[in-house]
């Protein structure tokens, strides 16, 4: 592989951790975005330096240093160190009498529900950051995409990476494919026929069989992969709202989320995790305009679930206030503009 083709793998590896944390993080196991950014950029620079400054000049590097893998190792080390500092060292410093009382942009990881009701940044997973770091997010919906919401979306779906034992098994299987043997055997050409199995060396045969095992697991995983995501429904409070199935109850407004294979009369799609229709997906007016089709449907579902208009309006008003604080030039309508 040419050097220019090879380095793209090493560089792209540096965003793996960010996506894995984003996709599979939990409220406890989450990383501050600035720490992810700093560590990934550091490892990105590291890969460039190592790749062009060290390994590129070595045809047979005895250390077999892979700049991508070692870059990921550097990244993980940095993340652990900085997160430890943010979680345990920084709070101690801030509470010490000698420390200043200024805002530290990295200090808090409070989830939205723990913040005060009037905090304009209460929907931020990591508040206390400067406004320039807060992107526009109206187009995604009213609620923030928390780890909890992500996990709720995936209820009832079998995911390989969500199971650490499966991941460990696959890593082991893939690592097992490597021919971990004493090198250079057999030393003499005359001895080669004695190690052949169907015309190929025994270690190649082992490699092929070993590679077939994780492939079998992948095929099994694909076989089990659903053709569509399971229905996540919510029962309204006016209909009882008893908690059923394996899903966790919804966080708000006295409704519960359940998994139902077939539609029931007294249920509505969970508005927080419902899939959008193609019509809704393909509607757009500007870069970050709210998608009114989605907004209206979610509102209608909430009303059908027995949530009062006043209650919905209060949620909307709260969100509007938050958005106005960040993007005053984009907020123009009154709070009642979407009243059904």
């Amino acid at each position: 592989m040419s050097k220019i083709a090879n380095i793209n793998f090493q560089l792209s590896s540096q965003s793996v951790i960010i996506f894995l944390v984003g996709l599979f993080g939990t409220e406890k196991v989450d990383v501050h975005p600035w720490i992810l950014a700093v560590s990934s950029l550091t490892s990105f620079v590291y890969v460039f330096c190592i790749y062009f400054g060290y390994t590129a000049d070595k045809e047979d590097d005895d250390t077999a240093l892979n700049s991508g893998i070692s870059g990921v190792a550097v990244q993980i080390t940095l993340i652990c160190a900085l997160e430890f500092f943010r979680r345990y060292i920084l709070p101690l410093k801030q509470h010490s009498p000698s420390s200043s009382r200024g805002t530290n942009s990295l200090r808090s990881s409070r989830p939205a529900s723990h913040s005060g009701a009037d905090d304009p940044r209460q929907d931020l997973l990591f508040p206390d950051r400067p406004s320039w770091d807060i992107p526009k997010r109206k187009r995604f919906g009213v609620k923030p995409l928390t780890p909890k919401l992500l996990w709720r979306m995936m209820e009832g779906t079998n995911e390989p990476l969500a199971n650490p034992w499966y991941v460990a098994l696959m890593v082991l299987c893939i690592s097992w494919c490597t021919p971990w043997l004493k090198g250079g055997f057999p030393a003499k050409v005359e001895d080669i026929p004695s190690i052949l199995v169907n015309g190929i060396p025994f270690w190649v045969m082992n490699l092929i069989v070993s590679a077939a095992i994780p492939s079998f697991f992948i095929i099994l995983q694909l076989y089990q992969m659903p053709n569509k995501f399971p229905r996540l429904v919510r029962r309204g409070k006016r209909r009882g709202g008893g908690h059923q199935g394996s899903a966790a109850p919804s966080a708000s407004r006295g409704t519960t989320t359940t998994l139902q294979p077939q539609p029931q009369e007294d249920e509505e799609p969970d508005p927080d995790v419902m899939e959008l229709t193609q019509e809704e997906l393909l509607t757009r007016t500007a870069y970050d305009e709210r998608n009114d089709l989605v907004y209206k449907r979610r509102r209608q579902i909430l009303e059908k679930l027995g949530i009062s208009k006043t209650e919905i309006d209060s949620i909307v008003a709260s969100t509007q206030r938050q958005l106005q604080n960040f993007e005053p030039h984009l907020i123009t309508g009154g709070l009642g503009e979407f009243s059904a």
Partner: protein, 523 residues
């Protein structure tokens, strides 16, 4: 670097097959353009709504009205009381100037609304809530602009099982799979099976993250991988960091395709290795296809390219086996590279292990993530994954077989020291057999071009999307999506120019002069 390509007797065939291939691609791109224009009703709704708004203004209407379908094609004006309409109007350039009410009695709007409503019914026939909502929301269609940007970059999120499978297959299996792995096996022997072993890591990355990315996209309307990062972490710093991490490797990747394209094409047609015009022409054609139909065009051409690659690799190894034997027929005592039979050294083992694990990162490439968003449904995505998983074995395993067999087959040429590109030499030997093998040899040449081009155009459209949606659009947030499509075309053009230039410079300075000591500079 000398071409040394032994296809002198087959140039006529190449001059027929290669232009034919480009004609088929052109037909696909034109068909994609047609499909984009005629199967995306929202765009026309938006157009008619704009026209209606202009008409309303010229007739001095000053009241909000929206249209709704009556089921019989009639028009039932409904008083629009929502200030939201103003917000939408302000955002959509042309209508913004009205700053007032929209009264549309245009029949075409109604018919398109009905059409769209029916379409929605088909999609969600088992979801009564959706249908009811759709009825209630039909009146929005005249005001909400269609997302032409998603139409261009995500094929209107309507790529079915065949298109999704074809485009994932062709985008993933690049020129390196078709040409590079056989050449790697020629030089490194069975250690090239690292690609087969690492295939499981690649699939684990895709299946493991694809489901969740897909679901999040369907719920939160994510259009790019960076939308997920933005929505999840809510940080501009991280967002732009990931943008860098996605664009830079993609640019290197597309540059590698340019280098491979230049080497392969010039070698096949016996051109000077330093000649640049063929690769410029091919990249221009690729750009033209992308401009014509966006991702749908790329997906359609990918399907054709996948078919060519599959045909080539389904036929070529059996032909080699039939005429030259298989691994069991090799005699290790006279095999030109007996070291292949020895167990790998410790360094090779470590390199093998790290490489297989590092392939897990393949899922982060934006052009492959784009397919996760563009698939019509989960079933289509599943088909795409199955295609990938199968391709890992029959393509990569077949490539290793061809490379190791080429050591024996090209023994004579190797002794003369002329084999700079073993795979093309092997194709020459196969084509010399005549008849069906000759046809497959020529098709495999086209397959090599197809594999390189399909990866290049996929990367092109992904880079263009990232630049447009994540860099330019935030700067001009009120621009209409249709305007942004043109910005996207400009971004594609920029990406082509930069990657072609980088590829030319790299090839001239490192490959032709032999500074790049890697196995094969052409991949």
């Amino acid at each position: 670097m000398t071409s040394g390509f032994p296809l002198n007797d087959h140039q006529t065939g190449l001059y027929i097959v290669v232009p034919l291939y480009f004609c088929v691609l052109l037909a696909c791109a034109l068909w994609a353009n047609y499909k984009n224009r005629h199967t995306f009703p929202l765009r026309h709704v938006s157009y008619h709504a704009t026209a209606a708004a202009a008409a309303a203004t010229s007739h001095g209407h000053h009241h909000h009205h929206t249209t709704t379908s009556t089921g019989s094609g009639g028009v039932a004006p409904v008083a629009g009381t929502n200030n939201n309409n103003n917000q939408s109007l302000r955002s959509t350039g042309t209508i913004a100037s009205n700053n007032g009410m929209l009264a549309s009695t245009d029949d075409s709007v109604v018919s398109l609304s009905n059409h769209h409503h029916n379409h929605n019914n088909n999609l969600h026939s088992n979801n009564s809530t959706t249908n009811t909502t759709s009825q209630n929301n039909d009146h929005y269609l005249g005001l909400q602009s269609a997302d032409t940007l998603s139409s261009h970059y995500l094929g209107a999120r309507d790529l079915g099982p065949i298109l999704t499978t074809g485009t994932i297959f062709a985008s993933f299996f690049s020129g390196y799979t078709v040409i590079g792995i056989p050449n790697e096996a020629y030089h490194n022997g069975w250690l090239a099976l690292r690609w087969v072993a690492g295939g499981s890591a690649i699939m684990m990355g895709f299946v493991g993250t694809g489901l969740r990315l897909r679901k999040a996209a369907m719920v939160r309307n994510h259009k790019t991988p960076l939308d997920f990062i933005t929505d999840r972490f809510q940080s501009q710093l991280l967002r732009y960091s990931v943008l860098l991490l996605q664009i830079v490797p993609s640019m290197f990747y597309i540059t590698a395709q340019v280098v491979a394209l230049k080497s392969t094409f010039n070698s096949v047609f016996h051109l000077d290795p330093d000649v640049i015009y063929p690769v410029v022409t091919i990249m221009a054609i690729t750009l033209f296809f992308e401009w014509l139909g966006g991702l749908r065009s790329v997906a359609m051409t990918d399907c054709v390219q996948s078919l060519i690659i599959v045909v080539a690799y389904l036929c070529l190894p059996p032909i080699v086996y039939k005429h030259f034997g298989g691994w069991a027929d090799l005699d290790p005592l006279v095999y030109p590279k007996p070291e292949f039979y020895q167990t790998p050294t410790r360094t090779q083992q470590l390199d093998f292990w790290q490489f297989t694990l590092s392939l897990f990162s393949f899922f982060t490439f934006p052009h492959l993530m784009q397919r996760i968003y563009a698939a019509k449904d989960l079933r289509s995505l599943k088909c795409g994954f199955v295609g990938m998983a199968c391709g890992m074995w029959f393509l990569m395993f077949g490539a290793v077989f061809l490379g190791t067999m080429a050591v024996q087959i090209l023994q004579q040429q190797q002794a003369q020291g002329v084999v700079d590109n073993p795979f093309t030499y092997l194709l020459g030997v196969v084509a010399d057999l005549g008849g069906f093998p000759k046809a497959i040899g020529l098709i495999t040449i086209v397959a090599a071009l197809a594999a390189i081009m399909s990866t290049a155009d996929s990367l092109l459209v992904a880079i263009s999307q990232l630049v447009t949606e994540e860099v330019v659009y935030p700067i001009a947030p009120n621009a209409s999506p249709s305007h942004m499509v043109w910005v996207g075309r400009a971004a594609s053009f920029g990406a082509v120019v930069i990657s072609t230039f980088m590829g030319y410079v790299y090839h001239r300075n490192f490959c032709v002069d032999g500074t790049d000591h890697s196995i094969i500079c052409s991949s």
